[in-house]
């Protein structure tokens, strides 16, 4: 019952977040200088007739007051209508739908690489000899601090140009996914592993860990069965960071590896001021955030019995 109320509350808050994101984006677009009607007709180079411009203004309510435009925009959103891409001349949902699969595959692969790597490294290196921790921690700091495109270049130089193990780019086959996913995964791993190890080391100092050892539990079992569950909570909290890293990183990585996906779609839309697509992507990102945070919230309840009420 408490859990249900919690879910409903969070969902309502999520709707609020989406409304906020939609409104801010709408506002931002209207503050950007430039004639939207001109953009719709293909920019100044298209040299549209004044009649065509007036027609577009009437069609898109651009001659109406701001409030009317905003109202019709929200109304369309509520019906699931994101509008048409200026550039591609297809509905925004279709434009996003074509690209979302590639990015989802990339993100999923990155998470599938990053999480096991993070857990293995953090669990094995926590509370070890200083020189082990120094080396591991040093690598993590370098990975966390290096921009994604440099990690990507380094991987390309080693594994594609030199060793020829993986293709340089493109969307063809699982082999093409390895290097982009690894690039994203390493950036996420660097930060998460630091957080997880610090947390594990705090937990391993707790008296209940000593009690667990005094029962005859071996070291690795103590780490997995007792310490990990405590240490995972701050890592969960950082999942928001992970989502941001994956979405933001995909723009860089898809460009670098010339992949199709939401990242390249975002970039092209920004270049071309394709406003409906930009709005669609912003809303999608906000929705992903809302859902991820809702799931995290429920996971807290599963992990920590003391978290019950909202």
């Amino acid at each position: 019952m408490a859990v249900l109320r919690r879910v409903v509350t969070r969902l309502l808050i999520g709707v609020g977040v989406l409304w906020g994101a939609a409104s801010l984006t709408f506002l931002a677009i209207h503050l950007v200088p430039g004639d939207i009607a001109l953009l719709i007709l293909g920019g100044p180079d298209a040299r549209p007739t004044p009649e065509a411009l007036a027609q577009v203004r009437a069609d898109y309510l651009l001659d109406q007051p701001f409030v009317v435009q905003y109202g019709s925009y929200l109304g369309n959103l509520l019906q699931g209508d994101l509008g048409q891409s200026y550039r591609l001349r297809i509905p925004v949902s279709e434009a996003i739908g074509q690209q979302i699969g590639a990015t989802a595959a990339l993100s999923a692969a990155a998470v599938a690489l990053a999480l096991p790597l993070t857990f293995a490294v953090a669990i094995l290196s926590a509370q070890r000899a200083p020189w082990i921790r120094g080396i591991v921690s040093g690598i993590e700091v370098v990975l966390a601090a290096t921009p994604t495109f440099i990690i990507g270049f380094a991987l390309l130089i080693v594994f594609s140009f030199t060793l020829h193990w993986f293709p340089i780019g493109g969307n063809q086959g699982p082999a093409a996914l390895v290097l982009p996913a690894l690039t994203l995964a390493l950036a996420v791993f660097g930060t998460l592993s630091q957080v997880l190890r610090n947390e594990l080391e705090d937990v391993l100092e707790q008296p209940f860990i000593l009690t667990a050892r005094s029962r005859g539990l071996r070291d690795l079992a103590v780490r997995f069965r007792h310490a990990l569950r405590h240490a995972i909570i701050p890592v969960l909290t950082m999942s928001g960071f992970v989502v941001a890293a994956l979405l933001g990183g995909s723009v860089v990585v898809e460009t670098l590896f010339s992949r199709q996906g939401l990242g390249s779609l975002t970039l092209a839309s920004v270049y071309n001021k394709d406003l409906p697509v930009i709005i669609g992507i912003v809303l999608l990102a906000a929705a992903v955030y809302v859902v991820v945070n809702l799931v995290i919230d429920l996971l807290y309840t599963l992990i920590d019995p003391k978290v019950v009420t909202a």
């Binding site: 000593l210 009690t211 071996r218 405590h230």
Partner: protein, 585 residues
């Protein structure tokens, strides 16, 4: 109870020890930072015997106990001439060999079950873990056995409790659950490290009785404690540790009745009780041991004394009460939002406090002691009743802008660390209180030093930060901060409950000295009846927010009217009477 398969060692003869250590040395760190925390300790525990390891915190007693099961941690360097476990040489055992012994042949009970049980696991899972590791039982079998074990240590509704988390249980039940997990595999050796320190007196007495019952003919026990009184009933032999060495060892009878070593004598004398009232708990030299070798004799008035005496003139002479509390009542909203029934924390509490006297307030956790303190301090509003300081309520003082009255009631807490900003130095902590008392900027530094001297802290401690101080030193800083306001009343909320017996003794002596010199009145809150009997003139027994008894301490402890008071008095751990010639004058 079904007995689990006995450990695979050949049956030990009754005299051969379960564990044996000769000339143990444990050190932490390397090179210049190497610290030896245990030096040349030898001990053994035989079946059916209970050895008590007694000493202050930092004496090496816990480290010694952990060495017995190989749990000193990777940073410790452990050396000994002989280390045997169950008659087998264990000196070179690997972690893997130790893990086979732990839980099965040696159970370990730590202090404070709240942090010693995994807060994210049910107590059933915690107790069951031992069975999972050391028995052949399947899951339903383990569940049944866990319930049996919980029942055997006196946990009511064991099936229900097994599914609860540590934070859902009371302190006593948690400690019982922790003991159940230690004895789950029926080990021949039970090690208990401060098993009762975090508990109320009556609960502690129950846990001690439980441990005493577990000491069978086959089971040996090692109990670690800072309090001789706690182990008096339980132990057959007592070893007193100080600075990593055993200074005295013998039968409990001999050590407690006829202590040979001055340190043991000091430990025994430091236990506050009714008999100790009016005398110092520490030898005069212990003030020097606290770190102030060049302290002026306490009867020579320091400059600060005159300041305080000046302020003391404010209070009217004679026995007019400084503090009059009448008919206090405080309700709190119910714990959950669905059941809005109010919980009455305090009901009809009345008392007066006279100049230079101490009123002890006794009660267990949840009895409303701290609520009374907060209302008297004026940080909480009572729902009914009044608090008069010099005949006026806090509201009247506020209306009259009488900040001197505000400052005249101060408070010190059980854990001063939580009331200090950890980033500030001692000088800043006290300096802030000095400034609040209206001391001009130029005079503040000197005043801080005076206050440090009053509480027997060396002047160089002014640069320390709270985290670098020991528990006793922190409490001294808290007292100095309270004194900065030149108070007439100090509310002491469990001020010595977190301290070792010897440190507690020094703080109690300090409070007694300050009372004598400045005519301070104390409202002294404690769950420890020994402490209350030592410090109080009058006593107030609180239970569930209601005053059960109120009167002179001697009268109440001689003729307790209420069954609950009798129960409390019964729970005081008693030391056997010392032989006459060993009592220091």
């Amino acid at each position: 109870m079904t007995s689990l398969p006995v450990s695979p060692v050949s049956p030990v003869s009754p005299v051969s020890p379960l564990v044996e250590l000769h000339n143990l040395t444990v050190a932490f760190g390397h090179g210049a930072r190497r610290r030896e925390v245990v030096r040349g300790v030898s001990l053994s525990v035989r079946p059916g015997e209970c050895l008590a390891l007694v000493g202050e915190s930092g004496s090496g007693k816990s480290v010694t106990a952990r060495t017995l099961v190989g749990l000193t941690g990777p940073s410790a360097v452990v050396r000994s001439d002989v280390q045997r476990f169950g008659g087998v040489n264990a000196g070179q055992w690997s972690e893997r060999q130790w893990s086979r012994v732990r839980g099965r042949r040696a159970g370990f009970v730590l202090q404070d079950a709240l942090s010693s049980l995994d807060p994210l696991r049910t107590i059933g899972a915690e107790v069951g873990e031992v069975l999972r590791l050391h028995s052949e039982l399947d899951r339903p079998g383990r569940r049944r056995r866990v319930a049996e074990l919980l029942a055997s240590v006196g946990v009511p509704d064991p099936e229900l409790r097994a599914d609860q988390y540590p934070h859902e249980l009371s302190g006593g039940l948690r400690q019982r659950a922790l003991i159940a997990s230690a004895v789950a595999a029926d080990p021949a050796l039970l090690i208990a490290d401060e098993p009762t320190t975090a508990l109320d007196a009556t609960i502690a007495a129950q846990v001690l009785r439980l441990l005493g019952g577990l000491k069978g003919s086959r089971t040996g026990m090692l109990v670690v404690s800072h309090d001789l009184a706690v182990v008096a009933d339980l132990a057959d032999r007592v070893a007193v540790m100080r600075d990593g060495e055993i200074v005295e060892e013998g039968s409990a009878e001999a050590v407690l009745r006829d202590p040979r070593h001055p340190y043991t004598q000091g430990l025994l004398a430091a236990v506050p009780s009714r008999a100790s009232r009016g005398r110092r708990l520490t030898a005069p030299s212990s003030a020097a041991a606290a770190g102030t070798p060049d302290r002026p004799p306490s009867d020579a008035p320091a400059p600060a004394v005159r300041d305080l005496r000046g302020s003391a003139r404010r209070s009217p002479a004679g026995d007019a009460p400084i503090l009059t509390v009448a008919g206090l009542r405080k309700d709190y909203p119910g714990p959950s939002r669905t059941t809005r029934t109010a919980r009455t924390a305090v009901q009809d509490v009345s008392f007066t406090l006279e100049r230079g006297t101490t009123l002890g307030i006794v009660g267990e956790s949840g009895s409303g002691k701290s609520t009374v303190a907060r209302i008297v301090l004026g940080v909480e509003q009572p729902d009914a009743g009044s608090v008069l300081v010099h005949g006026r309520t806090w509201d009247e003082h506020r209306a009259a802008r009488d900040t001197a009255a505000r400052r005249s009631v101060q408070m010190i807490y059980q854990d001063p660390l939580q009331s200090f900003d950890p980033r500030r130095t001692v000088r800043q902590v006290i300096g802030q209180a000095v400034a609040a008392a209206g001391v001009p900027r130029r005079a503040r530094a000197a005043r801080v030093l005076d206050l440090l001297e009053l509480v027997d802290l060396p002047a160089d401690r002014a640069r320390s930060r709270p985290l670098d101080l020991s528990g006793g030193q922190r409490q001294r800083v808290a007292i100095a901060r309270a004194l900065a306001a030149e108070p007439e009343v100090i509310i002491c909320d469990e001020p010595v409950s977190a301290l070792d017996v010897t440190v507690q003794a020094r703080i109690l002596d300090l409070l007694a000295d300050l009372q004598e010199r400045f005519g301070l009145s104390y409202l002294f809150i404690s769950h420890d009846l020994g402490v209350i009997q030592h410090v109080s003139r009058d006593v107030l027994v609180l239970r569930d927010g209601v005053v059960l008894e109120h009167g002179p301490v001697d009268h109440i402890f001689e003729y307790p009217r209420h069954a609950y008071t009798q129960h409390l008095i019964h729970a005081i751990p008693a030391l056997p009477a010392l032989r006459k010639d060993t009592v220091r004058s």
